[in-house]
Symmetry: T
Subunit: 145 residues, 12 copies
């Protein structure tokens, strides 16, 4: 299979490691990309990894994944809870969509209970911290096999 896996990250994930470490740990997003790339490489598949603070850019990246990706792993961070535009974009995809969150949103503020990603997602991995990304990649690889 030649199409890459897309991993997209939403707002503030570029600050991972510096921000609220008691909730999110000290691993950085670069660390996460590295371990995901390692897993993909071992499986002989490309992996396209992005982060943006911008809702519009995230929508555009999801549209790109509709054409270019074999699967989408998405941690939309705060846009998970506010972006209907993101939901509309995700509905364009006919590939597996795996929602990842570092922490378990169910144990947090009420406004994080609204979720526009889950209704369009195939499945989800929540609260495993950085390990959740690897679990998602492994599940995708198994799925694509």
């Amino acid at each position: 299979m030649s199409k890459p896996i897309y991993i997209l990250n939403g707002p503030n994930l570029n600050r991972l490691g510096s921000r609220e470490p008691e909730i999110y740990g000290t691993t950085t997003l670069a660390d996460i990309e590295q371990s995901c790339q390692a897993l993909a490489q071992k499986a002989g598949i490309n992996l396209s990894f992005h982060q943006t603070n911008d809702e519009g850019e995230l929508v555009t990246l999801v549209q790109e994944a509709a054409d270019e990706a074999s699967a989408l792993i998405l941690n939309a961070a705060a846009y998970t809870h506010t972006s209907i535009a993101l939901l509309d974009a995700l509905k364009l995809l006919e590939i597996p969509i795996i929602e990842v969150h570092l922490s378990n949103p169910a144990a947090r503020e009420p406004f994080r209970q609204t979720n526009y990603v889950s209704p369009a997602a195939t499945s989800g991995v929540f609260g495993f911290g950085a390990v959740g990304y690897e679990m998602a990649v492994q599940a995708v690889l198994r799925l694509l096999d």
Copy 2:
């Protein structure tokens, strides 16, 4: 009258024709622009047509319309339901604002019942698909006459 009509389109409308055709049909946004330009041209009026996935850019385009346009036709798509910034920008305009939706939002999900465009819009054309844009242009031409 020399000021152009503005037609602004929100997120995911660039994918029109590929996305959920059972709801939105197979006409593309380029098709829509073409028939609107034809109508405007026949009436001897300019028409400025834009699409963006970005809330901030949409706000800026609405601000531009405040200065440059004789009327605004707006299909804000998902931002219709989440963007108070858009509402604030629309309040800057002293020209007719016509809200267009391809489908009838009233028949869709509850979160599409919140609407920040309608309170600032003069009028609306819903559920006529691509034809709705032409109806809006014709109504504007009649109005500007």
Copy 3:
């Protein structure tokens, strides 16, 4: 095509022109029927135009349209917001249903946000005043073409 277009009008529209002119303008319902008849006549199609203050009678007229009409243009006025009987009747129809409102209900009181017509309507024209009826007739004529 020989079946007429039905235009049905709900409660208080018989007082159009005398009632809250700052919202609804001074055009009367007779004026509106006249311009709609003119458009229909030019297209060689019959047009059946009714007004009633009575919910039960409006339901019966919609049932009649189910058998007799090629398309229904409906301004149900206040019954839009309270009549489930009307919704049940509209579900009998297999013809295009176009909802018309003189003003934009979205910019009015909260109790006008409940809408039992829209879920059954194909499309809608809101806030164009009397002109909205003509736009609806033109859209129907194009559709029936």
Copy 4:
């Protein structure tokens, strides 16, 4: 002044005296009309008294009052709580509107807390039973004086 006072009564008030006497007493609507007519006659003013079970007919009577009456006394009974059509009709009137209820709606079921008459009414007399009608007539006479 030659225009009559209108007193309009909504659904089930024709059964007054037979229905839930522990809430409404045993006076009939005919008794009420009689004492109101007596008061009006003494003041040399006509009084037009109607009851209907039909929402549409009540709307039509209110429209008639817009043209014909000097003041409206209205006990809309159950339509008080469900009829937006009635509210729209009441907004046509530029004369005093006095809302009457035999019992005090505030002490009854939650669904009687919604009220579409009060927002259009000038004033109200609640919970005085049949006497409330006479108080309303006296207040109107004083007002018209």
Copy 5:
């Protein structure tokens, strides 16, 4: 016993058989009346069967039943969910009231969860289609026995 059983039917039930057959089946209201009349006749009791699209007329028929009937079987259709006037009329009755629905309202739209008939009804038969009317008649006959 000489007083008849009343069976009253609300809006759109006159179209039974033509309307949404996947929910309501193809039996007509005439078919239903016929089987109910047969059951009543066999038991030597009269049966008065009516349908109306009009809320006011339905209220008047219920008032008539207060005087004339030994029991009331009522399928108020959409007015079940919107008519407080109907509830007020039902409170006039001191005879058994049996609520019938062809389908099970609990499995339908949220706005059908509001019910102004049930609080005044003795009992109910839901979701048996046309058979539910016969069950209600049999239960009434047993009760009156």
Copy 6:
């Protein structure tokens, strides 16, 4: 009958005439007391008239009315909407309680829709301005007769 009528007035009514005259008119509370005293005097009955800005004092005055008054006319102003203590005090009374409001609370802000006086009141007179007090006194006199 020797027990006086109590008229109690809640917070800010001491400023009547100076406060929001477009809602409440220019009559002062002293004017109102004077016309009520005149009516009572003519009927040979005492009238005890009080105003307080203090919830606790209003509760104490209502308790006093439980022992000393033949009827209570109460305009609790803002405490109508917030004081459960007032409701508890009103439940001590076994005499007629008439709720008066200068304006019609139903046409004002949502937080004025909560009402702790009405559930304990026998009846109410709303929106007649200062005249409402006189109507209440006349109704009480008729009642006590």
Copy 7:
């Protein structure tokens, strides 16, 4: 047909006859089983009748009915309003499910308005007391015929 009809009863129905007789009457559950068995026997069909106070056991009995029964008559009592596990079990069944309640839940406390049985039930018989079981059995026999 050889598969039996299942009648399952939820918590506290074992105390029928002793509990709140003004709502439920004095018939015991044993009386009810007896009259249902009589009806079934006459029709030559087996009837399996159970009661349990335990949610888990009720779920297991419903699962058993999925394999063993030709129809299910279910009075889940309080679990009607709280058990999603019961709803999930009922979805396993491809046979008619008839919901029975001795009283009419619509006329009771708000927390009895939540209902997890109705969405999975084919039909319902409410408020006929013990007679409702017999009506349900007769309806099932007619259905299975």
Copy 8:
């Protein structure tokens, strides 16, 4: 490490494979236990696997896990949404708790949005079907390592 991993399954999961296969697939719970046991065995760790339809028994099993287990994998099925007793039991545990669901609850009925397991769970794996159990076991093994 000698303490086993506990995998606990709630109501109706014993029917997996027969129930709503379009949502849950055809794999049985025995299949799932087998693949989990294989993973655990390879890692030299015991695995204790249970299913119950009973809330009380599930609570008791969770209490047992508090003493006996090194980690808990829990698919509480319907009790996820209704059992505060389960939440209280889960708070006794000082070991990792991984919530598993075969489907993605976020894409289902509103009453499945209430969740009493997530607030006490460390992490979650949703919507991977039977594979989700294996992912959870692998994550636990990595964690215990």
Copy 9:
């Protein structure tokens, strides 16, 4: 220990014995003070007992208790449900606070479900009538021992 126990009573408790005896019994507040004083005296501790209809005075008494009391027993009556000022005052205290109610508020009107005392109270005794005060004094004595 030399600091006294404070017992504070809110609005309308001065009328205990005369007010709604079917809910509150015929014991007066003087009776209650007497039995509490007896208990305290036997334990050699002072007891300061107050009642006020005034929210501000109750706040001031609670502030006084912050300096002067060893424990606070509080029956705030209606202010329990409306006074955030009371809650703010209670937060000043570092001594045991025991909330007492004569009846069980949970079995009364919805507006009595809001409670600003409980969040600051250590414990509560509800529904034991006058005996509840003695139970609270005994619990305090045991606690202070």
Copy 10:
């Protein structure tokens, strides 16, 4: 008096002392039974003490208390907030019911504000920890005296 006092304890109370000691203390349920038995023995009355994690079993024990007990002291723990079956069982009792909670539920999570025990309970003792059981036994003994 020969009938025993029943003390029933709901889910997770068997783990008292091990579970969240900062909220519930370190006393075990056996300690509590011992001090309650001592109090009962001294008064020459039997005391029947039970704990169960099972809702159905708790319902059955309450039914047993309806026949066998002179008073019921109930700490239903989590089932307090979810079990309507428990409420229905409690309504069978004509003896005093005293609700006990170790902590004050009013100061905890919102979902613990729903309470199905309080509406059927005579009185309640909240937030005294283990001492609350003794207070309840003493109150019952006084009551039975």
Copy 11:
């Protein structure tokens, strides 16, 4: 300008410095008055500073400010969230009203989100502790200049 600035303080602010210092700091109300008086004195303007625990007295002070003050600085503390009487009094003022809070109410309990002062206030200074009073005085001086 000769009219003084009024600074009014609501319930519990007399305990400032002793109460919840982690939220409000250790400055006392006397300290605050002192620094405000210093600022006013330097500007040659009088300053009238009051505190009360009583809602009625606070209302009366606001009424006094309507006549006597050039500007009002108001920290209504808990009455901010419960007093409609206060709002009605504030509407009497035609001078600048500045709302002050020591902490930021938006970061506190939900019941502090209801605010009856803000709708009548010109502006607000929140969360600056005691410094906020000085900022308000400076802003007023600048405004009055």
Copy 12:
């Protein structure tokens, strides 16, 4: 201290002076920057002033402030009410955050009552128009001193 103060402005503030002057006045954003720069310069501190219509860009500027600023003054305009991404970014900051609004949001539309900035802000200055910025700068300077 060498780190600058950041002042960040959200959507539509670039149009200040042209937009709804009856709410916001005629001062432009350039005027505001000028007076703030003057204050900062006099205090010998740098001031970094930005405006953007873009949510993502605003998030990035807040992240920049986390590293570069000594204090943040933020007028997020419409994003105040919709951006959880902004809240997440603000949580990165360990410096004072002062929320500024030109008008008082509490006196505006309900959707402006949701606020994602306040929970992360130290303090706020609302409704002083352009002067509010200067007050915020002065407060920051005092704080940094």
